[in-house]
Structures are given as structure tokens and as C-alpha cells.
């Protein structure tokens, strides 16, 4: 390793190439800020800029900020310091397109910056919010869907409350030494009333697992928008954990970061970008196992309210799905399964996957309409109980 520190003054081209590498990384979606570049430069100065491995580690240790960044860093490094030195990877155009998971081909309102909606149809849709609330989202027209999106954006999804270990001033509870001392001090040392503090309650973390496979085509857009509204920070539940959102397609994709974009349409475009695989078949059990291995067991699902938004249509082994849902239930505070097909008349959980999962689900609710999603929000909050 670089026990022999190079000259403190860096050669111009070393700094230059780090800046170029950082630009490449930014184009690939790694937040390599100016501050990080500065750190990379000082790291280079402490190492040997002439050695490829030292350049690699200096950049990786300073420019990356999470495990997700590492693969992208390797690609960028290869592109930048590989056989074509100095070539910058083309910046990908961020496509402002809508997530095209909706079956109806006419329902593509964002293709070129939003199509003009016929005025009368907007009015008609707005006047029948109550009717819209109970309509199955997969059967809506373009205008109705537009209205639904507006309504979805207003939802929020705080978790059930639990007692936190954080304390705040209260009338009863533990004695608050600091405030008691101040009270006594201001009384000139005279013993005054004891002050107290007590634990506060906080909402539990909510984890959303959204099925975006082919069988969920008509619902995926609405459910992802619901997830976006749910992961919006602030609102009435201040100081809560971020809602984690994962998409289950042919692969497991964590979309929490994309969901953090404030504007729903921008966020959906970013999610569409991240989901290269929407619409394929799903092996739910396998994906759930991946989620639990990589995230859930480490703590993401621990004590959380986990909501699975899926029709339970399992292409793989149903037994594996049952096993994994059981494992999830042991980790999570509550497992809620929201199934858009449940509302269909005469529905019975006959899909093998759904039947295998059901014994390990705490709440089994509908998920086909706005009203059903509002009800789901109440279930997550613990206001309504609908046992599976």
C-alpha cells in the first residue's frame, strides 16, 4: 500500500481525472458532490496517484456513499480509466415519461408533457369523487385516472403508534433532573416541585412491497402513486421513520430513494427508470426471500408494519412463499396483505400463492379502489382491524 506518500502537490491531470470520474458518477446517479470530490483529491494526495489501485480506492472510499453506489462506481471507473482513458460516459437523458403499466393504450397522458383533457370530462369526474372512490382502478378512463391521481396524492400512511424510548417533559413519569435543578436554582436552592418526563409515542415504520408484475398491470400505477403519497415525509406524523418501498417485478428493486422526489410525476418517471422489469412474471416467494435476506432481517422489517400489495399470483413455488411470509410475520409487528382481486364477487384465495401466504398474514384487505386504499391506511394506522 502507499506507505511512500507521493508529493503533496498533485499533478494537474490527477485532479482533472477525479473531477471527470465524479462527473461520470453523477451522470449515473451517484451523489458525488463537490465536497466528496475535494475529499477524493486529498485522499489521492495521501496515496500514490500513479498506482491504479490507489486511484481506485481513493475514489471509491470518498465518492461512494452506499453499497448501491459500489457497482456503479466500478463501471464508471472501468469506463474512465479503462482502455479509453478520459472518455466520459454519456449522460442518460432523464425521460419524463409516465410509468406505462396501464393496460388501456389511450391512458398515456404524459407522453409529450401531458395531453389536454377535455374540459367537460374533468368536470364530470370531479363531480363524482364519491363514485370514483369505489370504482376498480383498472377500469377507469384516462380522465378518471387523472382525478384518481390527484386524490391519491392526498393520502398519507403513518404506521401504528408505539412507545419510543425518547423522553419529553410531562406531568408524570421519571424525575427530570435537569428541569428540577433549574426550578430549585431559581428558587434560590429551596426544594421546589419535582419535574418529570415520560416516553413519547412514535409511529412504526411502514414497509411497502408493491407487486408490479404482469398480472398487476391495471393497478401498478395507482399503487405506486399510493406508495409515493405514503412515503412523503412530514405531515401529521412528524419525526417518523421513512417509509421503505420495494417493487417486486422479475427482480426486487428498492425504490425508496426514487419515491423521495417530491413531485409525483417526476418520482414515477424515476421509478420507471429504476424498474427495468415491470410487467413480467413474479416469483413472489423468491423475491420476498431476497427482501428478507438483504433488508428485512437486518432490521428494516423488525417491528414495522409491512404491507404487501399484490394479487398473490405466484409463478414459482407456493410453499416457499408461505415459508417466507411466515418468516416475515415473525420479524414484523404486523403483516398486511392488500389484494386488488379480493373485491371481485365470489373471490376466494384460490391462487396457490395467496392460499399459502394467508395463514401468516395478520390483515387481509382489498386494494382495488381509492376507498380500499383509504381503508388500508386506517388498517396500517391500527384504527381498524380486519383479521385475515
Amino acid at each position: 500500500m502507499a506507505e511512500t506518500t507521493g508529493p503533496q502537490e498533485l499533478r494537474y491531470d490527477a485532479v482533472d481525472s477525479l473531477v471527470g470520474l465524479a462527473a461520470t458518477l453523477r451522470a449515473m446517479g451517484v451523489a458525488a458532490s463537490a465536497e466528496r470530490v475535494q475529499a477524493a483529491t486529498s485522499a489521492m494526495a495521501a496515496l500514490d496517484p500513479g498506482r491504479r489501485a490507489d486511484v481506485y480506492w481513493a475514489g471509491r472510499l470518498t465518492l461512494c456513499g452506499s453499497a448501491d453506489d459500489l457497482a456503479r462506481y466500478d463501471t464508471a471507473f472501468e469506463a474512465y480509466f479503462g482502455d479509453r482513458p478520459g472518455s466520459v460516459v454519456r449522460r442518460q437523458q432523464v425521460r419524463r415519461r409516465q410509468l406505462q403499466l396501464v393496460a388501456d393504450p389511450a391512458g398515456d397522458p404524459g407522453g409529450d408533457g401531458g395531453e389536454e383533457l377535455p374540459r367537460e370530462s374533468v368536470t364530470a369526474a370531479a363531480s363524482s369523487v364519491e363514485q370514483l372512490r369505489h370504482r376498480d382502478v383498472s377500469t377507469l378512463t384516462a380522465a378518471e385516472r387523472e382525478e384518481l391521481r390527484r386524490l391519491l396524492a392526498r393520502l398519507s400512511l403513518p404506521g401504528e403508534r408505539r412507545t419510543s424510548r425518547r423522553l419529553r417533559p410531562a406531568h408524570r413519569g421519571h424525575v427530570d433532573g435537569g428541569r428540577t435543578l433549574r426550578a430549585w436554582l431559581s428558587a434560590g436552592g429551596e426544594p421546589a416541585r419535582l419535574r418529570h418526563r415520560a416516553p413519547v409515542s412514535r409511529p412504526r415504520r411502514v414497509v411497502l412491497l408493491v407487486d408490479v408484475s404482469g398480472s398487476m398491470e391495471g393497478y401498478a400505477d395507482a399503487l405506486l402513486r399510493f406508495a409515493h403519497a405514503a412515503s412523503r415525509p412530514g405531515g401529521r406524523a412528524r419525526g417518523r421513520d421513512t417509509t421503505e418501498v420495494f417493487a417486486l417485478g422479475t427482480r426486487l428493486t428498492r425504490v425508496t430513494r426514487e419515491m423521495a422526489l417530491r413531485d409525483p410525476d417526476t418520482a414515477m418517471a424515476a421509478v420507471a427508470e429504476a424498474l427495468v422489469d415491470a410487467g413480467g412474471g413474479t416469483r413472489l416467494g423468491e423475491l420476498l426471500k431476497q427482501f428478507l435476506d438483504a433488508w428485512g432481517q437486518r432490521g428494516t422489517a423488525r417491528g414495522a408494519v409491512v404491507v404487501i400489495l399484490s394479487d398473490g399470483w405466484e409463478r414459482g413455488d407456493a410453499a416457499l412463499l408461505g415459508e417466507q411470509v411466515a418468516r416475515l410475520q415473525r420479524l414484523a409487528h404486523r403483516v398486511v396483505w392488500s389484494n386488488p382481486r379480493k373485491a371481485a364477487p365470489g373471490y376466494a384465495p384460490l391462487a396457490a400463492g395467496m392460499a399459502a401466504a394467508l395463514p401468516h398474514v395478520d390483515d387481509f384487505v382489498e386494494g382495488h379502489s381509492l376507498g380500499a386504499l383509504e381503508h388500508l391506511a386506517d388498517v396500517v394506522l391500527g384504527r381498524v382491524v380486519s383479521r385475515a
Binding site: 480506492w57 433532573g177 435543578l181 436554582l185 436552592g189 428494516t300 418468516r327
Partner: protein, 288 residues
């Protein structure tokens, strides 16, 4: 450098540690449980001959447990003593009394403050992902300018900034503002030779053959998609268990008996048994 302190580092860890010492910049380590994140901090402390101050994070940890706390019982006693001595009469006395009560001798230094006041020091902030956002905010203040502000007392500044190691199991994403100030490293499981070296160094009683077999068997287990793949810590535990049983080599009977040292889930143990421990060991003995 780290090898002298009993830590076998790969190039990434070594470079990270070197930069953490020479820049100096806090080191943010992520990785599976049991890959040696915490022991790297201990090794760094041994290398530079510094005290290791460890702060274990948990949900709800606050300033009074991480930064400083006032020693309220003693403050109250002091107040009562002053009052009964009759020195707490006029307004001038009240002011004097207040500055007495809020003086450094009644301040209890918790790990973050203690790290600033100790020179040299290695500060280990363990499992920062278990703490909440509020904690990250004051950790940020400490890490950005190595000062702690006590409202009643003023700002306490570190003469020499401590070496800081922050570890996370990645149960949630730690805030970017905190990560930006750190060197980021993802710690991998060690490769075979390094793992053997680590096991032999930590369990000197184990024979070379036993250490190698354990490392091979653990490598096989890691590839089996278990709920909790064993880390280096488990390899060491397993070797210790085998040594305690007087085993010279790994065989089916002792391996099955000591499986609890490596696999901590019932499902994983069943899976390993289905895998046929004998088969696994044959692979291990034959050299994979």
C-alpha cells in the same frame, strides 16, 4: 501496519484505515454482521496506542447518553449544602451559585465528549443505524468540527481530533449529510487465506488443518443461501468450540454437535443437516 495489531486487512480495508489516519477523516463502515467492522476500530486503537471509546447506539439514544450529562444528585447536594451554609442569600450569590452548580466538575462526559477530551482516542460509534435521526444530528455536529457545545458551560473543543469509526448494519439508510463527511467502505467477508490466518491468530490452540477445514466449511455454508450466513466471528466461535472439544480435525459427529456455534437459526441448522454435513466436510477436507 494493521497486521501488527492482530487484524488481517485486505487492500480496501487497509487503504481505508490508512486514509482515515492520514487525512484524517471519519471512517464509515458497512457490511454483514460479523465481518470485523468493530474489531477494526479496536485494531486501529492498538496501532496508534489510543484509548478506544465505544458508543453503542440504540433507538432513542439522546445527548445525555451520547454527549454529556449533568450529575444531578451531586448538583442538588451542592445546592442544599450552599443553602444550609447560608451563602445563597443575595442576587450576587444566586449567580455565583449557578455558575458553581454548572461547572465542569458536575459534568459527566459520555463517549462523544470523552473522545474529544482524551488524546489520542479512537471513537467507535457502533451500529449507528439503530439510532434515530435526532441522534445523527448531534453526531454530525461532533464530527464536523470536533466540538461539543454545553449551553451552560460553553464550547468544548478537541485539541487533537479523535479517529472516528462509524459502523452500520444498513437496516436503514443513514443520512447523506453524515456520510458525506466520512470515508465509506463496504466490508466483505475475507477470502480463504485471510480467514485461515484470522482464525489461527484468534484461536492459537487450533491446528492449521482444523483452521483450514473450518474456513472451507464456512465458505460452503455462505454459498447456501442461509438466513444468516456465518461471518468471521462465527468461524472463530466454531473453532473455539471444536478446540474445547479436543477435536484435531473436523468430522461429522463433532461438526453436528457444534453446529450451534455457526448457525443461529433453526431453519439454517435444518438446512445444513439436510445438506449432509458429511458431504460438506468431505469437500472441506479434500480442499473444495
Amino acid at each position: 501496519m494493521l497486521a501488527a495489531a492482530g487484524y488481517f486487512a485486505d487492500e480496501g480495508v487497509a487503504t481505508a484505515a490508512y486514509l482515515a489516519l492520514s487525512l484524517p477523516r471519519p471512517l464509515f463502515l458497512e457490511g454483514e454482521a460479523g465481518v470485523g467492522k468493530t474489531s477494526l476500530a479496536a485494531a486501529l486503537a492498538r496501532v496508534v496506542g489510543a484509548d478506544l471509546l465505544r458508543l453503542q447506539c440504540y433507538e432513542g439514544i439522546d445527548a445525555s447518553q451520547a454527549l454529556y450529562d449533568w450529575d444531578f444528585p451531586r448538583q442538588l447536594l451542592h445546592l442544599r449544602a450552599a443553602e444550609s451554609a447560608g451563602t445563597a442569600a443575595g442576587p450576587a450569590d444566586a449567580e455565583r451559585l449557578e455558575s458553581e452548580v454548572y461547572s465542569r466538575r458536575f459534568l459527566l462526559a459520555r463517549p462523544l465528549l470523552a473522545a474529544l477530551e482524551t488524546t489520542p482516542a479512537v471513537l467507535l460509534v457502533d451500529e449507528v443505524d439503530r439510532a434515530d435521526d435526532e441522534f445523527e444530528a448531534f453526531l454530525l455536529e461532533v464530527l464536523s468540527d470536533y466540538t461539543v457545545t454545553v449551553p451552560e458551560l460553553g464550547t468544548i473543543r478537541a485539541e487533537v481530533p479523535p479517529i472516528v469509526v462509524v459502523t452500520s448494519n444498513r437496516t436503514r439508510e443513514v443520512h447523506d449529510a453524515l456520510k458525506r463527511r466520512c470515508l465509506y467502505h463496504w466490508v466483505e467477508h475475507p477470502e480463504f487465506d485471510r480467514e485461515v490466518a484470522i482464525v489461527r491468530q484468534r484461536v492459537p490452540e487450533a491446528s492449521a488443518a482444523l483452521a483450514e477445514q473450518v474456513a472451507r466449511a464456512v465458505a460452503v455454508l455462505r454459498g447456501e443461501g442461509l438466513l444468516k450466513p456465518p461471518g468471521v466471528a462465527e468461524s472463530i466461535d466454531w473453532t473455539q468450540a471444536l478446540v474445547a472439544l479436543g477435536a484435531e480435525r473436523l468430522d461429522a459427529a463433532t461438526a453436528t454437535a457444534t453446529l450451534g456455534a455457526v448457525l443461529k437459526y433453526r431453519e439454517d441448522q435444518q438446512h445444513a443437516k439436510r445438506l449432509d454435513v458429511q458431504q460438506m466436510i468431505t469437500t472441506a477436507v479434500l480442499g473444495g
